[in-house]
Amino acid sequence: MAEQAEKKRLFFALEAVAPWSPCEPSGRSLMPFERHMTLAFLGDTAWKPIEELLALTPSSPLSIAPTGYCDSCLILPHASHPRLVAWHVAGKEIAAISLWQKTLSQFLSSHGIAVESRHSFMPHITLCRAPCDVAEWKKSFSPLPIHFPALHLYQSCGALRYSPLWSQPLLNAFEQLDHTADIAFTVRGDTLESLTRHALTALAFSFPELLAYAPEIVAINSLNDVIAFLNEVVSNADIAIGAPFKAVSQHGKLLRKKTSNNSRYWQWEMIVDV
């Protein structure tokens, strides 16, 4: 009886990893490692039924961890009554995340778990809660790449601290490798287009300004096309503002791999001349 009565303040969210600015304005900020994108807010919920359901939680529709980019500052619930500052998240993979969010919400609802559904899904990451200097936060915004390496069921512990009680890790879209000559990454994508996007995100983690020089990713049919696209971005950025990397090399094979649930994906070792 005591166990069934146990309640926790819960929500499902994607862990959000980004090259957060070390110089953020003042306020009640979430620590970088606490930042996340909520998919389903359950509120104060009985723990036992949730715990029993976790093993059946639907998997991500993406075989590789999704990426995106923060494209604007949101003051929520609205500018005249600011309670929190968030960065809005955009990108091609948001559609798949949105689908996952719907699937997850439907799954929970179908098992009698109430999910807060005041608004349609708005992809965002909260950085700071009131009281805070909203004007300074708005001024401080600049586009940032984001990587979502895992889905967690978080418990809200108060004081802007969140504890993951359950996790569904995803295969990383990219990882930095140790390379003596330059900088190197393992990059993954379920299509060549998403591989290109993830490679660009990897580079943007070192140099977020690169995002402003990236055209739309189209007609990527080979590794040559991937590298040519990335070099176009690097080159344009170098001309305009100077870039810390000079060229994406031609080294590295493109491999076809399988996830544990047999989904196929591309994997490439990207070495970047600096």
Binding site: L223, N224, D238, I239, H251
Partner: protein, 482 residues
């Protein structure tokens, strides 16, 4: 012949002190030749670098050996510290064997023997260098000083003579440059408009990464007769400049690699980055003309930086510019057409040096009379904390008259950053007796001394292998980093 089994699984056969053979395997046209001591070979994991030595040996028309210098480390395509020669008539040219930063290189200048640095002068000088020399990401010259198309037309073909004619140095500077500061055969039209755009406001800047300007003192003389001939004295102040062709060269290399790959020229090669074209083919010739243009951009870049160094010494210490004397300028990412003896006959070869320096011995035709008597200077920057070296080339036929180019990285940039996280880097360096200025603390963390091999061990191996001999050891006092 004794054998050496490395932790990476490679088995090498010892040929001599600091010389090992990597035996031919299936697909290799020639064996590998690795110059290193057993001590250097036992440090770190050289498996990837040796794999690249193996891969380079697959290049069509390669002659002699696929060579690696003692500062070798994992690159892409060629290892860094790689040398390979191909026949100039029947062989290929590989942009990956030159590198993205075409004619990245080093130049060393000396102050008069009676000039000395004290703490006050050092402080003023470091700030003057930081003020005059654009360094770091995005730091180029003012847009008003950007190169015009006419400027490009001239400097890409004339080499550093263009800068000197414009008043950025002295005519004798050219005499003390590899190839007199110009690579013949450049074509203004060969590099793309995009390449020219990238370089337009970068002439006279050092860039970022491991590029630098360093001021220090000659700490020890190993070879007194050569030092005397070259005017080097113990305690003398020197300046070392490391930079290349900046975004211009990178764009040339990248566009050429892309073009060669789309032409299907990487078939049968174990690494796409080794893609190459026949030297005498239209695409090969086009690359050679563009590479020469980029190399000439780099010579001009180092000439401009030297001009700014001279200005800094004048402003901070009252030293007239003509008293900052250029000792030599060397390329360490380049392909050069040279005559070498192969099986007893002189043959024209295309020698690719990727992170390796030419090391002509005495008697070499191209050299200034001073260096024709002695052999050319070989400049070996180490790391910013310990030492750099001046060596003299021995004209070793086995290495196509090549030597190492630096200390070689032991740790990656990310590893070095992790190792030094949370520590006061500038204070640490100050305690080592070195003042550092840089636009980015991240760059300093990536370039900390322990990220590199010990340059003393590297030059010792070079000397044991017979490629060059030590002349002087230099220790840094001031470093300007990109």
């Amino acid at each position: 012949m004794s054998k050496l089994l490395l932790t990476s699984g490679y088995e090498l056969e010892q040929l001599g002190p600091a010389l090992y053979l990597l035996p031919k395997k299936k697909g290799m046209a020639v064996p590998g030749l690795i110059a290193a001591t057993e001590q250097l070979l036992s440090k770190g994991d050289l498996g990837e670098a040796i794999k690249q030595v193996e891969n380079v040996a697959h290049l069509p028309g390669i002659v002699g050996y696929s060579i690696a210098m003692p500062d070798m480390h994992w690159g892409y395509g060629f290892p860094i510290g790689g040398v390979a020669a191909t026949d100039a008539e029947t062989g290929i040219i590989s942009p990956g064997g030159v590198g993205y930063d075409i004619n990245c290189g080093v130049r060393l200048a000396l102050l008069p023997p009676d000039f000395s640095l004290d703490a006050k002068r050092e402080e003023k000088l470091l700030h003057a260098l930081f003020h005059h020399i654009p360094s770091g990401v995005g730091c180029g010259v003012e847009r008003s000083n950007a190169l015009s198309d006419h400027d490009y037309n001239q400097l890409l073909v004339k080499g550093s003579r263009w800068s000197i004619e414009k008043g950025f140095g002295f005519s004798e500077d050219m005499e003390f440059c590899e190839s007199r500061g110009v690579i013949a055969g450049a074509n203004y039209d060969a590099p793309s408009l995009h390449a020219k755009e990238r370089g337009r406001n970068q002439l006279g800047s050092i860039g970022s990464g491991n590029h630098f300007v360093e001021v220090g003192k000659v700490q020890h003389i190993f070879f007194p007769q050569i030092a005397e001939a070259w005017g080097i004295r113990q305690g003398q102040v020197y300046v070392l400049i490391h930079t290349g062709s900046r975004g211009f060269g990178h764009q040339v290399c990248q566009e050429t690699l892309d073009k060669f790959l789309r032409l299907g020229l990487a078939k049968e090669l174990p690494d796409r980055q080794l893609v190459s074209a026949k030297i005498l083919s239209p695409e090969g010739q086009h690359y050679i003309q563009a590479m020469a243009a980029a190399a000439n951009f780099a010579f001009n870049n180092r000439q401009h930086v030297l001009h700014k160094v001279r200005r800094s010494f004048q402003d901070a210490c009252g030293v007239p510019p003509e008293q900052v004397r250029l000792l030599y300028d060397v390329c360490h990412n380049i392909a050069k057409f040279e005559m070498h003896k192969v099986d007893g006959k002189m043959r024209k070869l295309c020698v690719h040096r990727k992170g390796a320096t030419r090391a002509f011995g005495s008697g070499a035709e191209e050299l200034h009379p001073l260096y024709k008597d002695t052999g050319q200077p070989v400049l070996v920057p180490g790391d910013m904390g310990r030492a750099s070296h001046i060596m003299v080339g021995m004209g070793c036929a086995m290495s196509w008259c090549s030597s190492c180019h630096g200390a070689g990285r032991e740790h990656s940039r990310s590893q070095s950053t992790r190792n030094w996280q949370g520590r006061d880097l500038l204070e640490y360096m100050r305690k080592q007796g070195v003042r550092v200025m840089a636009h980015s603390k991240k760059t300093i963390a990536e370039e900390m001394p322990d990220a590199y091999k010990d340059v003393d061990e590297v030059v010792e191996a070079v000397e044991l292998a017979g490629f060059a001999k030590q002349v002087a050891r230099l220790t840094p006092r001031l470093v300007l980093k990109g």
